[in-house]
């Protein structure tokens, strides 16, 4: 069964510092990977996704992520964090290739809460 691990429950960075959020996945085939952000009281917003091709993907709000098959990782990065980036971040793997009833299922990691200090 597919699974996602986000090792860091809570990360604190200073505004302007660089950021890397870790994500490791377990999936039997080529994974479809996503990063979502959830601000307090808000829904989920897609930051970026990886389906195939270039392993470095660019997203919204200046975020990028790199898919590393050998490490089963899809870490999210941002070179300079803004106070408005404070939120919870979820990595997810999509079961887009499966047949039957599990088609399209998304499995989420536990989330990483990002706090930004001024």
């Amino acid at each position: 069964a597919q699974s996602v691990t986000q090792p860091d429950i809570h990360i604190t960075v200073s505004e302007g510092a660089s950021l890397e959020l870790r994500c490791n996945y377990s999936y039997g085939a080529t994974p479809y990977l996503f990063w979502y952000v959830q601000s307090p009281g808000q829904g989920l917003q897609l930051l970026l996704k990886y389906f195939s091709g270039d392993t470095l993907v660019q997203g919204i709000k200046g975020f990028e992520a790199e898919f590393k098959r050998s490490q089963s990782s899809f870490n999210l990065r941002k070179p300079s964090v803004h106070w408005s980036d404070a939120a919870e971040y979820f990595c997810a793997v999509g079961d887009l290739n499966a047949g039957g009833t599990s088609y399209g299922k998304l499995t989420f990691g536990q989330g990483t809460i990002l706090t930004v200090h001024p």
Binding site: F34, Q42, L46, G94, S102, Y103, G104, K105, L106
Partner: protein, 112 residues
């Protein structure tokens, strides 16, 4: 990407009652998904809803507790039945569109 309207955005309910959550999508989609996010937790898939067929439930979720309707390709409802305080969560619907997975804004349910 698809746009989802989810209602209600929040509700406070008495234990033993039921709440029906609605999701309306601005385009036709084959599958809709319902997730639960318990306080401080990640999202867990409740069920997958196809139009014209019974929903498929994940382990730990049953139809009697979470009945789902999917009358057409743009609409679905999730009912949380016979609620207890343990059902206090955020419930979200989701669809697969060309851009990926889109989520509704969520329903924050508190059971007292």
């Amino acid at each position: 990407s698809a746009v989802i309207s989810q209602k209600p955005s929040r509700d406070i309910c008495q234990r033993g009652t039921s709440l029906t959550i609605q999701c309306q999508v601005d385009s036709q989609v084959t599958m809709m998904f319902w997730y639960r996010q318990q306080p401080g937790q990640s999202l867990t898939l409740i069920a997958t809803a196809n139009q014209g067929s019974e929903a498929t439930y994940e382990s730990g979720f049953v139809i009697d507790k979470f009945p789902i309707s999917r009358p057409n390709l743009t609409f679905s409802t999730l009912t949380v039945s016979n609620m207890s305080p343990e059902d206090s969560s955020i419930y979200l619907c989701s669809v697969v569109s060309g851009y990926g997975y889109t989520f509704g804004s969520g329903t924050r349910l508190t059971v007292v």
